[in-house]
Amino acid sequence: MWKLRSYFKPYLGTIITVMILVFLEVMATLKLPDLMSGIVDRGIARGNIPLIWGTGGIMLAVALGGVLCAVVGNFLASRASTRFGRDLRFDIFKRVGEFAPREFNTFGTASLITRTTNDVQQVQQMFHMSMRMAMRAPLMAVGGVLMVVRKDSGLALILLGLIPIIGLIISYVIIKGVPLFKGLQKMLDRINLVLREQLAGVRVIRAFDRGTYEQERFDKANRDLTGIALKVNRMMVTLMPLLGLLINVTNIIIIWFAAKRIDLGVMQVGDLMAFLQYTMQIFMSVMMLSFIFVMLPRASASAERIVAVMETETSVKDPKEPAQIGRDRGVISFEDVTFMYPGAAEPVLSNISFTANPGETTAIIGGTGSGKSTILDLIPRFHDPQEGRITLDGVDIRQLALEDLRLRLGYVPQQAMLFSGTIASNIRGGKADATDEEVMEAARIAQASEFVNEREDGYGSYVAQGGTNLSGGQKQRLSIARAVVREPKVYLLDDTFSALDYRTDARLRSELNKRAQDATVIVVAQRVSTILHADQIIVLDEGRIVGKGTHKALLENCAVYREIVASQFGEEAVS
């Protein structure tokens, strides 16, 4: 929580104001018994009815003042905490936006989403609670004790003795309770995970007849959860009556000693009545405080998760003094590039060297996990390689401004990814200021104009989040149109045509060929038939280049390539 202090800073003024308001509210609450004791000691005892009415009026004013302070304080606290949440949420969103895929992988996309939403909500709630309630308790305790001391300093000693005992009990709860609550949360997560897996994997579980095993797994999680829930709840329900008893016993002691002092004439009955009410109020506020301490671990866990995001620096940074590209052509060159995921035992790519030239198509083919897509990912600098370098027109891409580099690339991933908006706004993702004509031309090349025109709203048709209202093939074509409209120097196509039927595929390729005449095209492929005429085919096997050349040349000199071809066309194709 402490690490988020810079976010609390702007609210220092508000926090202090709220504190003062809470203090005033507490004082008002504490003033009431004091005034009441006046009614008893000076009004009732002396039969002074006007004084009773007068004091009653003052009490009313004080109560009204109290509620005003509370409402205004709540207003300020609500605004401050929600604004705090808003700013924190925005900063996390921004920070995550800077992350490279590597950071996405370490946190996990789902977890990053939770951190931006739920965790912020938790901390925000805690902030609000602390301002309103956490301050109330100590103020009430201190104020109450002060009032009591003023009434009768001798008796106040009893109360002063009570406070450390309550303090002890509460620290016991914190020390014992906090780990228990954490454990409870863990067990809850565990049982939810087990059930979620069982729902998703029901076919597999039944196919392998592992129902009994799964039920045992669940029963264990259920037993563990119930065990810890019993512990937590037993502790809580023991604590509350115990605190209640403590306060009542204190009351009895107070009355006994007060009786002696009243008998001696050094104390008045009204004071005793006020005294008893103070004890009650102090006790109540302390109970509230312990409530907050129970909530605290959850919020601080959230804060920790947020801080972890905020403290993570992106692994792919802009250079301090970016270099400029001299002749803008689009030559991509890999020079002895080796890349491994952090912590992996073996590299994904080893000693990759090749050059992709403008006006040529470079195809990459190889088995699953051979590193085809990783090669493409290195070019927009989603990752940086550990060894070797990648150049664009002779300049190391790590020395280029990220914006400069990516402006020249038209990346089409394997999984088409669209955003909510319209078809046109998705295509314009490639070039924000593209004219309507440019958008339509790009759609035509990507073979998307047909289905777009069939839609009622054409290019203004609504695209749902993630493009779920479009078919896989349609999404892929729009994703290609987005790259086309950009007019990139380098096309990066990752097995992009897999969801298209062969006729569309063929038309798209020939149109794209015309459009991309002077561009560098690097394409990752599964099907040999789609790359037969590539100018250069790179064959990957377990992260190494095992063949480089045209289809014809590779058939002659690359065993792995022959194997791939044989697997798709049959043995006769190779011989």
Binding site: F90, F93, I113, R203, R206, I255, A345, G369
Partner: protein, 620 residues
């Protein structure tokens, strides 16, 4: 494992702190009475405990009601002493024997109240925890008995929400609200009686405050509900935007769309703020207002009571007691409103849980169901028809005879009924008409467990659970050695890949294992099937995300594995099924062609067209 987001859409329920149930939207049960009765019945085994809780609650509440009255007596005695002295009576002073007696009584009352309170709470903890334990267990066991139909039709998020949110609401409610409700009611009655015995006039005045506080809570609550509903909607919108931006982060980066995403985020975020603080503020105003009304009552009692005491129509101790009573009275009244809300959503939650527990179950194995000890793998389908809905057949009059050891390839367009066939073979669904036999036995006469273990299956949907890669592969069979796991991984050509991972076979697969591609996941499930060593293999488009070369390598491993086993392969890529003993071409639930690759090509029909289409393509 496959990213089912569990709690989305339910984030609002029980999410915030603050007083539960105040100012937040409430759901209502469809059949309140029936469900309540059933919930009570569900807790039947604990009826003696509940009776004890009930009695303890009464005792504890009654004793705590007595407290202020006795305490007041002490004050009265003290005051009498003081007054006597003021009037200068001889020998006047505090009557310490009376005080001692009263304090003694007070001590007994406090102790008794605490003791009974403790009993009531601790017993209720046991009852509620055991009840939800049983409820979770029942849900889980129920899920195990539900037919696949349920899993395919109900959303997993909904089922999960019943399990987590609804059970949580019930447990919280049993733990707190039920007791609170009981003690509140008793307190209201008891305190009213006590107040009436002290002063009917003051009681009337106190009761006059009630409509005021009720009106205030109702007014504020309706306002705050509106804000909460809107806040929930905006939050949903914001979550959607975050989800979309984060999951598409490579595109956002590659096309430099960060600024656009940020400004859209800012707009929604600002809107959330505008609504959020209002929701927070309005709902947070309820408590201070109610406190104010309480203080109002306090002042009225102090003043009016004071006047009464000077007139001698009331003792000072009774004024003090009355003040405490009016507090005790106000608390449960404001509580009751929110408890009613909580109880309502509890019954609604219980209703959803019971709905799940009432789902129709899969027909049980018949008592004389058989085991097949040494399966050969002879499968016969006779006149099989089936539809997921009664009026719509997915499979019509299907006849098929498969001899042990044969490789059967099934091809056909999407939605032709290929996956349905697998569902029927493994008895995930029962046939509508006709019979399926395994080694001559109607599969409905076999134990489901026995039938299913004879099949080894690799599905289109890969399923891996959170655990190490080793455990995931070993899932196929009980009690396998590490060597067997590695051998299976090698056979599935995934051994090299596993070793490139940070912890090799001990790498823990988590929800977001995005470094593991779909193809690699499939290889892992193939390794699992290899390890299971079944009599019949089913590969359901299993290799569609694996490249053709790897697929071929797997096929070689599979070919060895398939020797002597009946195998079904469902695949889109026709090159993978060239070696099949028989190819079934299914369209619209019917076998329209069958034979070997050679035979079907010569026939020059549907299959031949399908096969040829894949070679017609150009290149970029």
């Amino acid at each position: 494992m496959r990213g089912h987001s569990a709690n989305r859409g339910h984030g609002g329920r029980g999410g915030g702190y603050g007083p539960r149930g105040i100012g937040r939207p409430v759901e209502k049960a469809k059949d309140f009475r029936g469900t309540t009765r059933r919930l009570v019945r569900y807790m039947g085994p604990h009826k003696w405990s509940l009776l004890l809780v009930f009695l303890a609650t009464i005792a504890s509440t009654l004793f705590s009601i007595l407290g202020p009255k006795i305490l007041g007596q002490a004050t009265t005695v003290l005051f009498a002493g003081v007054l006597a002295r003021l009037q200068g009576l001889p020998g006047a002073g505090v009557d310490f024997t009376a005080i001692l007696r009263i304090l003694g009584m007070l001590g007994v009352v406090y102790l008794a109240s605490t003791l009974f309170g403790f009993i009531q709470q601790i017993v209720m903890v046991n009852v509620s925890q055991k009840t939800v334990y049983k409820m979770r267990k029942d849900i889980n066991h129920k899920l195990a008995r539900l037919p696949l139909h349920y899993y395919d039709s109900a959303s997993h998020g909904d089922t999960l929400s019943r399990f987590t949110n609804d059970v949580d609401v019930i447990s919280q409610s049993l733990q707190q609200s039920v007791i609170q409700m009981m003690s509140s009611l008793i307190t209201i009655i008891g305190v009213t009686i006590m107040m009436l015995t002290i002063s009917p006039t003051l009681t009337l005045l106190t009761a006059g405050m009630l409509p005021l506080s009720a009106g205030i809570s109702a007014f504020v609550a309706s306002r705050s509900q509106k804000f909460f509903v809107r806040q929930q909607n905006i939050l949903g919108e914001l979550n959607g935007h975050i989800e979309e931006t984060f999951s598409g982060h490579t595109i956002v980066k590659a096309y430099g769309l960060e600024a656009e995403a940020e400004s859209a985020f800012r707009t929604i975020n600002d809107e959330l703020y505008e609504n959020g603080w209002k929701a927070q503020f309005v709902s947070g105003t309820i408590m201070p207002l109610i406190r104010f009304v309480g203080n109002l009552g306090y002042v009225v009692i102090a003043v009016v009571g004071g006047v009464f005491v000077t007139r001698g129509s009331m003792t000072i101790g009774n004024v003090q007691a009355f003040m405490q009573y009016s507090r005790q009275f106000g608390m449960p009244i404001t509580q009751v409103a929110s408890i009613v809300n909580v109880l309502q959503s509890t019954v609604a939650a219980a209703e959803r849980v019971f709905e799940l527990l009432d789902e129709k179950e899969e027909a049980a194995d018949s008592p004389d169901a058989k085991d097949i000890m040494q399966p050969a793998g002879r499968i016969r389908l006779t006149d099989v028809s089936f539809g997921y809905n009664a009026d719509e057949y997915v499979i019509k009059n299907l006849n098929l005879a498969v001899e042990p050891g044969q490789l059967i390839a099934i091809v056909g367009p999407t939605g032709a009924g290929k996956t349905t066939l697998v569902n029927l073979l493994m008895r995930f669904y029962d046939v509508g008409q006709g019979v399926i036999t395994f080694d001559g036995h109607d599969i409905r006469e076999l134990k489901r467990s026995s039938l299913r273990t004879m099949f080894g299956m690799v599905l289109q949907d890969t399923w891996l659970f959170e655990g190490t890669i080793r455990d995931n592969i070993a899932y196929g069979r009980e009690g396998v050695s590490d060597e067997e796991v590695v051998a299976a991984a090698q056979a599935a050509h995934v051994d090299h890949f596993i070793r490139t991972l940070p912890n090799g076979y001990d790498t823990v697969l988590t929800d977001d294992a995005s470094s593991i591609s779909q193809g690699q996941r499939q290889l892992l499930t193939i390794a699992r099937a290899i390890l299971a060593d079944p009599a019949v293999l089913i590969l359901d488009e299993a290799t569609s995300s694996v490249d053709t070369r790897t697929e071929r390598l797997i096929q070689e491993a599979m070919a060895r594995l398939m020797e002597g086993r009946t195998s079904f392969v469902i695949a889109h890529r026709l090159s993978t099924i060239l070696d099949a003993d028989r190819i079934l071409v299914i369209n619209e639930g019917e076998i329209i062609e069958q034979g070997t690759h050679q035979e079907l090509m010569e026939k020059n029909g549907f299959y031949a067209e399908l096969y040829n289409s894949q070679f017609v393509s150009a290149t970029v």
